[in-house]
């Protein structure tokens, strides 16, 4: 299992892997925003956390279609299906690897990107905390979508359509929690805990749903 985790991380960091693509796409979204809305620091600070969240969501979805498709095309998936290790456990490990090379770096880059969006310390800390809690949900929900679309030639588009609606609650509560941290009457903790709960929920049922879809695909 550790071998699978190490291999997936290694592949993502190699040329043609998804890690750098996701980060660059994230950077592009965040940099484009100040040019689009103008250099008003207050306005930027208001929409900043939302921009970071939308960027993270889209960047997370970017490489998801290859999560199982690459393995399916080169025959690796057959070997995974034959392995004595339970398939949901393998899916969990692959989703975890996906998060470690996309969700986690995206979260860690927030302090850098916050400069473009004129965010203060509180906003940066709150955005990082919610992204840390929320981006695993994107990987685990995405794994289900990736498993369902694994044999489709242009699965990426369908994947986004399938996964995005399920990720909307994460986005709503994630941005809501950051707003709670920045403005006084709104609470931070309840929406933050909801985000964490969604991630944990999908970390459990996502691998089983994805494994079921992968078994049907062979």
């Amino acid at each position: 299992m550790i071998a699978l985790l190490k291999r997936d991380i290694r592949l993502a960091l190699r040329s043609g892997g998804g890690a750098a693509t996701a980060l660059l796409f994230y950077l592009a979204v965040v940099i484009a925003m100040p040019f689009a809305v103008g250099p008003n620091p207050e306005l930027l600070a208001t929409i900043g956390p939302a921009t970071l969240w939308v960027g993270a969501l889209l960047a997370g979805l970017l490489g998801l279609d290859r999560l199982f498709q690459a393995d399916s095309e080169d025959g690796t998936l057959d070997q995974m299906l034959l392995s004595p290790v339970a398939l949901p456990a393998q899916v969990f490990v692959k989703s975890l690897a996906h998060w470690l090379v996309t969700g986690l770096p995206l979260t860690l880059m927030v302090p850098v990107f916050a400069v473009f969006l004129a965010l203060d310390g509180t906003a940066v800390a709150a955005t990082m905390a919610t992204l840390l809690a929320g981006t695993p949900a994107i990987s685990f929900i995405g794994a289900v979508g990736a498993a369902v679309t694994v044999t489709l030639p242009r699965g990426g588009l369908l994947l986004s359509v399938l996964v995005l609606p399920l990720c909307i609650p994460v986005l709503i509560f994630g941005v809501g929690a950051v707003r709670g941290a920045m403005t006084e009457p709104d609470p931070f903790l309840p929406p933050f805990l909801l985000v964490a709960a969604i991630s944990l929920f999908f970390a459990v049922i996502g691998p089983f749903a994805a494994a079921l879809a992968l078994r049907q695909s062979s």
Partner: protein
């Protein structure tokens, strides 16, 4: 150990690929599955490996040696499919050591396995740089780095030159001599001394 298929039938979508297939292979025995394109050779192998559900009948392993315990059919099998199951971005050595860790039951060392398939010293090359025949031989080396008593091989010699094919026949003979079982789907003679042949003729209407 004895690999037994008893009256199996497999559907692909709405279509019956074959039915009423029965055979048995014992320790040290090889089964060559022959048939024209589309007769269902690959489908039969995938069904044996447990990758495809059976419509009827059953596949089982009888008289399992105690060292394998309660293992199910797929856990006793190496399946060499049409694809090589290797990543082009990783080196040959990385690919093989991943499969060794993943499959468990280490058998030959990576270097030994590369030597056995005649590609010693290529361990550091990216898999993507190899030729078709070399890729196939690396894929064959995967069978050697972890131990499985049953080898299920789908067109194992595709892309191999005559010399490599002979070398591979030797590896299969060694596996059989080691009380292994080989079931291969192919239309090219594999050069095995004592192989039972099984002809797939398509669906009996």
């Amino acid at each position: 150990m004895k690999l037994v298929a008893d009256d199996i039938a497999v559907m692909r979508g709405e279509e019956l690929v074959f039915s009423g297939i029965s055979f048995a292979v014992e320790n040290g025995g090889a089964l060559v599955i022959r048939g024209e394109n589309g007769a269902g050779k690959s489908t039969l192998l995938r069904a044996l490996a447990g990758l495809l559900p059976l419509e009827s009948g059953k596949i089982e392993i009888q008289n399992v040696e105690p060292e394998f315990g309660e293992a199910k059919v797929p856990e006793l099998c190496h399946y060499l499919g049409a694809e090589n199951a290797m990543k082009a971005a990783m080196s040959v050595g990385e690919n093989l050591s991943f499969w060794q860790d993943f499959a468990g039951q280490p058998h030959h060392k990576i270097d030994e396995a590369l030597e056995l398939v005649g590609l010693a010293g290529l361990g550091d090359l990216p898999f993507g740089h190899l030729s078709t025949g070399q890729r196939r031989r690396i894929s064959i080396a995967r069978l050697l780095v972890s131990y499985r008593p049953i080898w299920l091989l789908d067109e194992p010699t595709s892309g191999l030159d005559a010399e490599s094919a002979r070398q591979f026949a030797g590896l299969m003979e060694a596996h059989l001599a080691d009380d292994g079982i080989v079931a291969a789907a192919t239309h090219i003679p594999l050069g095995l001394a004592a192989a039972e042949e099984f002809e797939l003729t398509g669906v009996a209407e």
